[in-house]
């Protein structure tokens, strides 16, 4: 793992074209020099080792985890899948992690789809439709992004518990809460992206007699696909990793709580059961990591197009 090997491109340029201007060489050498590379390697190692250590530990037998450091595994490997077996399917009093995994999935999919569709439509209203007060309302929506969720929790919770709907659809409050909390940021990001699409495209279509619905479906959606996908990936990761909404809007109902809530409980009540915590943490990471690693190129490209104007 050598990021040092990663800088030669610049270093090569510096050596191939010897430069008499010492200051310019200095700049190249800052990027290409060994100190810069060493710093990059140190940061990369510092950022990776904690996760790596936990990952190794999750495959070690219980006694080993509790008696020696995970790095001894490298010289004295003892491998087991018992930890995963136990957290996923073991008979814990409040259910095994596999149940919570399903809960998280059931929470996350609608909580990603619903706000994304609504935000895309709202972005259309803010960037293509022309109406009085548009900029003001948009600034307000942006400002809502920063209302602490803590402020909205209690009253929203009350609306749901008085409606009685939760008896039949226990997940409803979590879905709606996540959708609402995601809207300001999603509208903001998608609006930025949509305003970059040339006005002429829309105008030409309008002149040809296309209504807003067909402009939205035939022009905007295809052009917006990368941005929508990137916001969707972020939203998926955020909802999957959320603890606050999952904890408060599911009440004390173990049957519908997400993975993070159960994991937080395990960390609190069984803080020394490292074999369960290490494996549990990795069960919770699997899906976001797959989503991130398989789609990262796509989503960085999409996000940039919209949100960051350098």
């Amino acid at each position: 793992m050598s990021v040092e090997a990663g800088v030669p491109e610049v270093a090569e340029v510096a050596t191939q074209r010897p430069n008499r201007r010492s200051t310019a060489t200095k700049f190249r050498s800052l990027v290409g020099n060994r100190i810069g590379s060493a710093v990059a390697v140190v940061i990369a190692v510092l950022w990776t080792i904690p996760t790596f250590g936990l990952f190794i530990s999750s495959f070690r037998p219980e006694e080993d985890i509790k008696s020696s450091g995970w790095w001894t595994f490298l010289s004295n490997p003892a491998f087991t899948l018992d930890n995963y077996q136990e957290v996923l399917f073991g008979r814990a009093s409040s259910g095994s992690l596999s149940d919570y995994f399903i809960n998280s999935l059931v929470i996350t999919v609608p909580a990603t789809v619903i706000p994304l569709v609504l935000a895309t439509m709202a972005a259309y209203a803010f960037s293509v439709l022309d109406w009085r007060g548009r900029d003001w309302v948009f600034v307000c929506v942006f400002a809502l992004q920063i209302v602490p969720l803590q402020m909205a929790l209690i009253p929203l919770l009350r609306i749901f518990s008085s409606s009685g709907l939760l008896d039949t659809f226990p997940y409803l409050s979590v879905w709606v809460a996540h959708s609402i909390f995601a809207l300001p940021l999603a509208v903001f990001l998608l609006h930025n992206f949509m305003s970059d699409i040339p006005k002429e495209l829309v105008e030409a279509a309008r002149v040809d007699g296309a209504g807003h619905v067909s402009v939205f479906l035939r022009i905007m959606l295809p052009l917006m696909a990368p941005a929508i996908a990137s916001v969707a990936i972020f939203q998926f990761i955020w909802v999957w990793n959320d603890l606050l909404v999952g904890l408060t809007f599911t009440g004390a109902n173990n049957a519908i709580q997400p993975l993070t809530a159960r994991l937080a409980e395990m960390a609190g009540s069984r803080g020394q059961d490292w074999q369960l915590l290490t494996a549990g943490a990795f069960v919770s990471m699997v899906l976001p990591l797959i989503v991130f690693l398989s789609l990262q190129r796509y989503f960085v490209r999409g996000l940039l197009a919209g949100s960051v104007k350098g």
Partner: protein
């Protein structure tokens, strides 16, 4: 029908189907409205496209924010008005000093350190051959939940008595150097810094991704011109790179500040807010959901909101500035 009502996946499918049907109806209305002539058609389009989101925001954020403000002047069960008593309690209770102190340390250190590390790393790996891999390594923690991160770092910070073999990486290193093992999470005031390190670890990758993209967007002719003028690396960084990526720096700094102000998961999972590591957001959670005191909890939420206002104002001003530049 049983499947849709009694099975988890059934309920999930049901809500998605219902939502899809709702959107289809809305779009059909907008489509029909497009055939009209006159003023009504613009409003119909606006209502269909913007309406649902705005309605949800009013019901889900604006109304609750007003309601929380109202509740903050009432007692625990929202029955009797108590004036400013909850606010007075918020700033004078026994843990208040520590919660405020810690929150300020968090909000000061996390954004600056994360952004700085992300920026330095982005510059160092820019245009290198292993850039993608290097980026993934730093970004990885962003995809991990706060709870997962808490567990990862509890393991790194794990403390055993000096006589025992250390299983936490940091203490193993410290004892290997010949020092006494450290109780990272228990010994105040330093334990707050060790919790903060976790948040920096999570946020640096986010800062790096955004800033790296911004750096790539700096026009190469500006860099070349500067290089020909013989500016040194520090001048290049200060006078070219930083001004060019200023909007991105503002976005990154404010986003991380706001996330930090709302942080409660890390203290909850790692120390349970004991050993003087309490922060405002976690205290608010405790009062509202553990002690069941809606009055004090609401007052604390309002205080957090007030602390966020300067950040909002700053961001809106930046947005207005960008807009006027863009024309």
């Amino acid at each position: 029908m049983d499947f849709f009502l009694n099975d988890k996946f059934g309920q999930m499918l049901l809500v998605i189907i219902a939502f899809a049907a709702l959107i289809a109806v809305l779009l059909a209305i907008a489509w029909a409205a497009d055939k009209w002539v006159g003023k009504g058609r613009r409003w119909a389009a606006l209502a269909v496209f913007g309406g649902p989101a705005l309605l949800l925001l009013v019901v889900g954020l604006i109304y609750p924010a007003i309601r929380t403000f109202y509740m903050s002047f009432y007692d625990a069960g929202t029955n009797n008005a108590v004036g400013l008593q909850n606010y007075i309690f918020t700033v004078t209770n026994t843990g208040a000093v520590i919660a405020f102190r810690n929150t300020f340390i968090w909000v000061f250190l996390v954004p600056i350190a994360s952004t700085l590390i992300g920026l330095i790393y982005a510059i160092l790996i820019d245009r290198s051959r292993l850039e993608k891999l290097a980026k993934s390594l730093l970004f990885l923690p962003v995809a991990i939940s706060f709870v997962g991160a808490g567990i990862i770092w509890k393991f790194v910070y794990e403390y055993r008595g000096a006589a025992q073999e250390q299983i936490g990486l940091l203490n193993a290193f410290i004892t290997w150097l010949g020092f006494e093992p450290v109780r990272f999470l228990q010994d105040a005031p330093w334990n707050t810094l060790f919790l903060i390190a976790v948040m920096i670890w999570i946020q640096a990758g986010f800062a790096m991704v955004i800033l790296s993209a911004a750096i790539k967007a700096v026009p190469t002719d500006i860099i070349e011109a500067a290089r020909l003028d013989g500016v040194n690396s520090w001048e290049m960084f200060r006078n070219i790179t930083v001004p060019s990526i200023r909007p991105s720096l503002v976005v990154v700094l404010t986003t991380i500040s706001i996330a930090t102000l709302k942080i409660f998961d890390i203290t909850r999972t790692m120390t349970g807010a004991r050993f003087d590591t309490q922060v405002l957001a976690n205290q608010m959670y405790d009062y509202s959901f553990v002690f069941g005191d809606n009055g004090v909890g609401s007052a604390m939420a309002v205080v957090i909101f007030i602390l966020v206002i300067p950040l909002v104002a700053f961001n809106i001003r930046q947005m207005a500035k960008n807009r006027s530049v863009r024309g």
